[in-house]
């Protein structure tokens, strides 16, 4: 369809693809670090109030209000405080933070400096997934530039406030995107999530108050002070301010990362000329995962929904990390869910029994059904196994310490709810109805 989606002025992605966009020089020419100057003139508490007023919500998955999270850090603690940046970006379907780190890392660093000053943090760790070699190189170069320019170091832009920023690379573990597992990993341990409470704002890194924020969340902070909190809030809905990045992948003509308004719908993202440019010729949407592989799947008749936290919650799914995965009507739902289930089985950290045992069990059942060996009762068994990890509809967290259990069970519950007939057909026909082409219109490779 032609472009009818509301046009927005890009904030986070404005410089992507432009020459040298990752350098301090380029960032400064675009007004970079002016927001930090403004923020440094405010009292720390006033900075937190501004971020609250902006309605900025976390872009890592949970959508928690950023200003509120900052306000949980105790003001009178005698311990040092820390900021940990979550750049573990490992949720299947999510690839936006990579672009920020590669193309405009200073935007995130400016957000870090503002956050650190507001929180009284003197040490920040930027934790990037281990596989992000090139993003880490760009980010480290930007950190080095920031030290040289007096943004980090003994003073921040001349203000008597010491701020050190260190980049740490993970080593391949999805679970380290969970904030307490990330802290364990930063402490030099295996990534086993911690029981909450206490929350990291009170007991975080090295037992000290710690804020964990996603890369995109921090990259959004400068705009709050550039435009003003009210103006930033007005870009979005009553409960969710600003713009956001969404990642479009799967069977769609033009995958990519797009900065959209909080009012842009899934249908617009998939079909609009500015974004996905529709489906391959002759094909229709069958299923869409709206917020990374953990988010419950939607059917083709459910796409007229804004890609925003509250709107997707109404549909009993989630905006999550902004990873939108499209599957066309030539895609096998059993095969798709099997692959997603394998991911969670591979990435379960092994700490909680329901997840450690349940995720491979789901995988075995799905493989059996996909390979034509399914028996009557297998679908109910699959549903039971998923419910044992985390029941549906969700009532808070499932039966595990962290949300990986929910993330592993929600796809199963939602695929069975919407595409049960396809699972039944596999069992009835003792084969995959899609034969050796389960992956849809683009599944061939040459």
């Amino acid at each position: 369809m032609a472009s009818t989606a509301k046009t927005i002025e890009p904030i986070i992605s404005a410089a992507w693809g432009k020459p040298q966009s990752w350098t301090l020089d380029s960032y400064r020419k675009r007004g970079g670090y002016e927001a930090l100057k403004k923020a440094l003139q405010l009292e720390p508490a006033a900075i937190i109030d501004e971020v609250k007023k902006s309605n900025l919500r976390g872009r890592g998955g949970a959508g928690f209000p950023t200003g509120l999270k900052w306000s949980f850090v105790p003001k009178d603690s005698p311990k040092p405080k820390y900021l940990a940046v979550n750049g573990d970006e490992s949720e299947p379907g999510t690839f936006k933070d990579r672009y920020i780190l590669e193309d405009d890392p200073h935007m995130m660093l400016e957000g870090i400096a503002i956050a650190a000053y507001a929180l009284g943090v003197h040490t920040c760790y930027v934790y990037l997934r281990g596989e992000f070699k090139f993003p880490a190189e760009r980010t480290q170069a930007a950190i080095d530039e920031a030290y040289k320019a007096g943004i980090f170091g003994k003073t921040v832009l001349g203000k008597d406030f010491e701020l050190n920023c260190y980049l740490v690379r993970g080593a391949g573990a999805y679970i380290c995107g969970e904030e307490t597992a990330l802290l364990e990993s930063l402490e030099g341990k295996k990534g086993w999530p911690r029981l909450k409470p206490p929350f990291p704002a009170v007991v975080g890194l090295f037992g000290c108050p710690t804020v964990v924020n996603n890369v995109e969340t921090l990259a959004s902070v400068p705009a709050v002070f550039q435009q003003g909190a009210d103006a930033y809030a007005k870009l979005g809905t009553d409960k969710s301010g600003g713009t956001r990045l969404v990642c479009l992948s799967g069977t769609v003509n033009r995958p990519g990362v797009y900065e959209v308004s909080m009012f842009t719908t899934l249908a617009e993202l998939i079909y609009d000329d500015k974004y996905g440019r529709g489906m391959p010729a002759g094909r229709k949407v069958k299923a869409v995962i709206p917020g990374g592989s953990s988010a419950p799947v939607l059917g083709a008749d459910e796409l007229d929904v804004a890609m925003e936290f509250e709107a997707l919650k109404v549909k009993q799914t989630m905006a999550g990390s902004g990873g939108v995965i499209v599957m066309d009507d030539a895609t096998c739902m059993v095969r798709s869910l099997w692959r997603v289930a394998r991911f969670y089985a591979e990435e379960s950290c092994g700490q909680c029994t329901p997840c450690r045992e349940g995720t491979p069990w789901q995988t075995r059942l799905l493989r059996k059904i996909e390979e034509g060996r399914g028996e009557p009762g297998d679908i109910d068994m699959l549903s039971n196994v998923a419910s044992s990890i985390a029941p549906y509809p969700p009532i808070g967290l499932g039966n595990t310490i962290c949300a990986l259990g929910d993330a592993a069970a929600l796809p199963t519950h939602s695929f069975l709810m919407r595409f049960r007939d396809e699972f039944e057909a596999h069992i009835r026909e003792h084969r995959c109805p899609f034969g050796d082409k389960p992956w849809g219109s683009f599944g061939d490779w040459s």
């Binding site: 040092p80 970006e89 490992s90 949720e91 299947p92 379907g93 999510t94 690839f95 933070d97 990579r98 997934r129 281990g130 596989e131 992000f132 070699k133 090139f134 260190y166 740490v168 690379r169 993970g170 080593a171 391949g172 573990a173 999805y174 990993s185 930063l186 402490e187 030099g188 341990k189 295996k190 990534g191 090295f206 990642c247 479009l248 992948s249 799967g250 069977t251 995958p255 990519g256 990362v257 995962i289 592989s293 990873g323 995965i325 599957m327 895609t331 798709s336 692959r339 997603v340 991911f343 591979e346 990435e347 950290c349 992956w439 849809g440 683009f442 599944g443 061939d444 490779w445 040459s446």
Partner: protein, 162 residues
């Protein structure tokens, strides 16, 4: 006497690297440097030999078991010497929707290895999402990222590996 772990050049790199890593953490939290220290060791040796793990543990003032626990938890650490080129192929959902399973099958045939196997030149592995879903299919060779791969593009990349 057993061969020393490091050449004098490597020893210098390791000592400087460890000192830098430890300086990033509070003095009583040296062990926090475990992931960067293991990465440093692997950059120098290509894998994590047992005597290297013991050395890292000593510098960070923890037991060798603790180093082993971390080294065996994360998939990017090599506890056995891998092939010269480690190829990690993403086959997660978005990549498979763009042919990743077929790409992996092509590589298996071309290299004469199944996913999970290794020879002196190559280690071939199936891996989880590499956060490159909009430019699928993708893979990494020794952590260098390659995306939007076609057979011609992949052949050209492989031809450059001596």
């Amino acid at each position: 006497m057993a061969e020393p772990l490091f050449t004098s050049e490597e020893q210098k790199k390791f000592d400087a690297g460890i000192a830098e890593i430890i300086s990033h953490y509070p003095p009583d939290r040296k062990s926090a440097g475990m992931l960067p220290a293991l990465r440093l060791l692997q950059e120098i040796k290509g894998w994590l030999p047992p005597e290297g793990l013991r050395l890292v543990a000593k510098h960070l003032e923890v037991t060798p078991e603790r180093a082993m626990e971390v080294a065996s938890f994360y998939v990017m650490y090599h506890l056995k010497k891998p092939g010269k080129y480690v190829i990690d192929v993403c086959t997660n959902l978005s990549c498979s929707l763009w042919g990743a399973e077929k790409m992996l099958a092509y590589l298996e045939e071309k290299l004469g290895l199944k996913a999970g196997e290794a020879n002196e030149k190559f280690t071939l592995r199936e891996t989880e999402c590499l956060a490159s879903c909009g430019t699928a299919p993708c893979l990494q060779i020794n952590e260098d990222h390659h995306e939007s791969l076609t057979q011609a593009k992949l052949d050209a990349i492989l031809a450059r590996l001596s």
